[in-house]
């Protein structure tokens, strides 16, 4: 393992379906940063993150998580990684607490530590009153919060989130954003895709813009503005300009 490694290093990452979804992508995310991956629909964001999480096998390239080769030692990589998809997949017949107990069991977390952490997480996400209710009657937002609590209960060092704020009300979204910020402040790395550009603008340390499976631009908001040649432009304007330019070039 390298000393002080990056949280995530993708080199030449490639995935083809009927067309290239991710095209020899190189990406580095530093340890302890909040990284927002933006792109239009079908840009390859979700495919990229699913390969990082071990849900899809790349056709080519490498994935390194905290210095661990995730393709050769997926179990070790998964031990320190958490994945939250845009469509919360939880068990209808379990309560949030039972769900978190199951997740903690899968990650082999000490039960007493996991239980207090689970209760704390559910409370901080506003689910304290629902922690003994089966999830079958939960709204999408509540399910998303349970899934997020499941991702955090095993204290991952890298959190990968695909559109985590979809379906959340303003209060819940604030809860989630606060929780993610706290994790980043405590040294955790967060990679998130989002279509809500204000969230990326406000929360992300660095932003990557991807289109047709390739990285178009990357940097802090200030760096992106510099690259775009305008210091007063919004992220939304820059994003649209970048994507339009790429579409015109294609």
């Amino acid at each position: 393992m390298a000393a002080n490694p990056s949280a995530l290093e993708l080199r030449g990452l490639t995935k083809r379906f009927d067309r290239p979804a991710v095209d020899a992508l190189d990406l580095t995310v530093r340890s302890g940063e909040f990284y927002a991956l933006l792109g239009p629909n079908g840009a390859g964001k979700t495919t990229t993150l699913r390969m990082v999480a071990g849900l899809l096998r790349p056709d080519a390239g490498s994935v390194s998580i905290m210095g661990i080769d995730a393709l050769h030692d997926p179990v070790a990589a998964k031990q320190i990684t958490a994945w939250v998809s845009d469509e919360p997949m939880i068990y209808d017949k379990l309560t949030p607490l039972e769900y978190l107990e199951f997740v903690a069991g899968l990650w082999a977390i000490d039960p007493s530590v996991a239980e207090s952490s689970a209760r704390e997480l559910l409370a901080s996400l506003g689910l304290e009153a629902n922690m003994h209710e089966r999830c079958e009657g939960f709204s999408k937002g509540m399910r998303q919060k349970v899934a997020l609590a499941g991702a955090l209960v095993h204290n991952p060092r890298l959190i990968i989130l695909d559109e985590p704020l979809t379906g959340l009300d303003a209060v819940s979204a604030r809860h989630v954003k606060g929780l993610l910020s706290d994790r980043v402040h405590s040294g955790c790395t967060v990679i998130m895709t989002t279509h809500i550009l204000e969230v990326a603008e406000r929360m992300a340390d660095r932003i990557g813009v991807i289109s047709a499976g390739k990285l178009l631009a990357e940097g802090t908001l200030a760096e992106l503005r510099q690259q775009n040649g305008r210091n007063d432009t919004s992220l939304e304007d820059m994003f649209i300009a970048l994507v339009d330019r790429e579409a015109a070039a294609a």
Binding site: M89, E98, E101, G105, W107, A108, P111, S112, A114
Partner: protein, 507 residues
């Protein structure tokens, strides 16, 4: 709502029912339509063979019939009615819970009473259509041997279909009003499963208790039942007389069926909309866990097994589906109990029944645990190798099968230790084979899609059935003709090998 609009909605309903049925048959793959049609034609043609074997000799039956013949025909019609009732209850329940268009319909400017009436008539028609389709080979055989008068059987199917739909609607809506929408869904599913299998099993149980045999005809043709039967002019024999071509009985039956459906629709139509509204919102009421206990320790596989067992235990749909399979264990269990004292030869019959049931149960459970994973991303991103993950799921299936069959095998041990050992081996092999087939053909699906598991892969479905039948035959023959058991055992192994060869997951 105008007549044109009603007509349009009726066509919409028929189109939806047709597409749902087609999707179930094709597993949602458009390319399979032609294969399904050819398969149905071949199946229909082949069904004429067992139809001829079962009822070919009755084609020349003429009225008046003796009491035993009336009882057997009436019981057979009642069995058909029970199966139609079971299907209708399930369909009515589905209308209230599973259709995604309730919000659209209820927010549209139409009279809900009319809309739901059409929907319920569509259910009655689909139940009748399916029954007529299944009855066709039998009617063909009867007409071939006894003439066109047997066309009256279709009339009987229509009449009993109407009454089955009427009773299904009444039962479901009364359940709604008495026990609430959430419990209705579970209870209706269980009632449908129990009614579907209950009549045959009840006859078998009665036959075992009275005559020590699994044959239902033993009890139906007995003097005891004939003694209880009413006289030849009783209404009870109308369906049998109608099936034999008695026009008056047929007209009365059809009028009775229509009247019953009409009365039920009129009595309950005002509450349809209210019921549907309750069903669409009532299912989301919270169910709280009654106890709080600390998080449990254990390995990752143990956590998985615990989760699988908890989900199986809490799945009402699975309960009703499994109940059907377990109900079939009641007659052999009774046979076993009766055979204790006299160590009858009939005891051997229990072995194939148990082995077959174990295979079928393991297949269903295997699909639920292996394919029916509601949080696939979570378990795939967990720090656990795929082989350990699958092993834990298989262990959960085998644990449940073991727990259910151990008491029966334990009882068998006292009656015949050798038979118990061979049966235990058969149960294990059949369960392992069915689970392996589910593993080779695993697909990612939600547990709620359990109904469609048999249409997602025809090969897997047939392989699972043939494997269970093969191992059941092998274990039964091991006890009587061991050399023949070797042949069936090899044949079943060959079926499994061929299934593996054609499976998408053999790599």
């Amino acid at each position: 709502m105008t007549a044109t609009a009603l007509n349009w909605f009726a066509r919409h309903e028929i189109r939806l029912a047709w597409r749902e049925w087609l999707a179930m048959m094709t597993g949602g793959r458009r390319g399979r339509r032609r294969a399904v049609i050819i398969g149905f034609l071949v199946f229909g043609a082949l069904l004429h063979v067992p139809a001829y074997v079962v009822i070919g000799r009755y084609a020349t039956l003429q009225a008046p019939l003796d009491r035993s013949a009336l009882i057997v025909i009436t019981a057979t019609i009642f069995l058909g009615w029970a199966l139609m009732l079971s299907q209708a209850i399930e369909s009515v329940t589905r209308v209230f819970y599973a259709r995604a268009d309730l919000d659209l319909i209820m927010s549209s400017p139409v009279a809900l009473t009319h809309v739901f009436s059409i929907r319920l008539v569509a259910i009655a028609l689909s139940v009748i259509a399916m029954a007529m389709l299944l009855a066709t080979p039998f009617v063909d055989v009867l007409m071939f041997g006894g003439g066109a008068r047997w066309l009256a059987v279709y009339g009987v199917v229509i009449a009993i279909g109407l009454s089955a739909a009427a009773i299904a609607i009444a039962v479901t809506i009364l359940l709604f009003r008495t026990i609430g929408p959430r419990r209705t869904r579970l209870v209706a599913q269980i009632v449908a499963a129990v009614i579907g299998a209950g009549f045959v099993i009840a006859l078998q149980v009665a036959a075992i208790l009275s005559y020590g045999t699994l044959s239902r005809f033993a009890i139906l043709t007995s003097d005891a039942v004939a003694g209880f039967a009413p006289g030849p002019d009783s209404m009870l024999w109308w369906p049998a007389r109608a099936a034999l071509g008695d026009g008056e009985a047929l007209l009365l039956l059809l009028a009775g069926g229509l009247l019953l459906l009409g009365v039920v629709m009129t009595s309950f139509s005002a509450g349809f909309a209210e019921t549907a509204a309750h069903a669409s919102t009532g299912t989301t009421s919270a169910r709280r866990s009654s106890r709080t206990r600390p998080f449990r320790s254990g390995s990752r596989q143990r956590a998985l097994r615990r989760k699988e067992l908890m989900l199986l235990r809490r799945d009402p749909w699975l309960v009703s589906q499994s109940l059907m399979q377990l109900l079939y264990l009641v007659p052999p269990a009774l046979l076993l109990w009766r055979s204790f004292s006299d160590s009858s030869v009939a005891l051997v019959l229990i072995t194939p029944v148990l082995v077959m049931a174990a295979g079928q149960l393991a297949g269903g459970l295997g699909w639920l645990t292996i394919s029916g994973e509601d949080a696939p991303d979570l378990v795939t991103t967990a720090p656990l190798s795929p082989s350990r993950l699958i092993r834990a799921k298989i262990e959960a299936v085998l644990l449940v099968v073991g727990a259910l069959f151990a008491p029966l095998l334990g009882a068998l041990l006292f009656a015949s230790p050798l038979q118990a050992a061979i049966t235990a081996l058969g149960v294990t092999v059949a369960a392992a084979s069915a689970t392996a087939i589910q593993l080779w053909f695993r697909v990612q699906a939600r547990r709620s899609q359990f109904r469609r598991r048999q249409t997602s892969s025809r090969l897997a479905t047939f392989a699972e059935a043939f494997s269970s039948i093969g191992w059941a035959a092998t274990t039964a023959l091991s006890l009587s003709i061991p050399v023949a058991a070797l042949v069936t055992g090899l044949m079943t192994t060959a079926i499994l090998a061929a299934t593996w060869k054609f499976s998408p997951r053999r790599d």
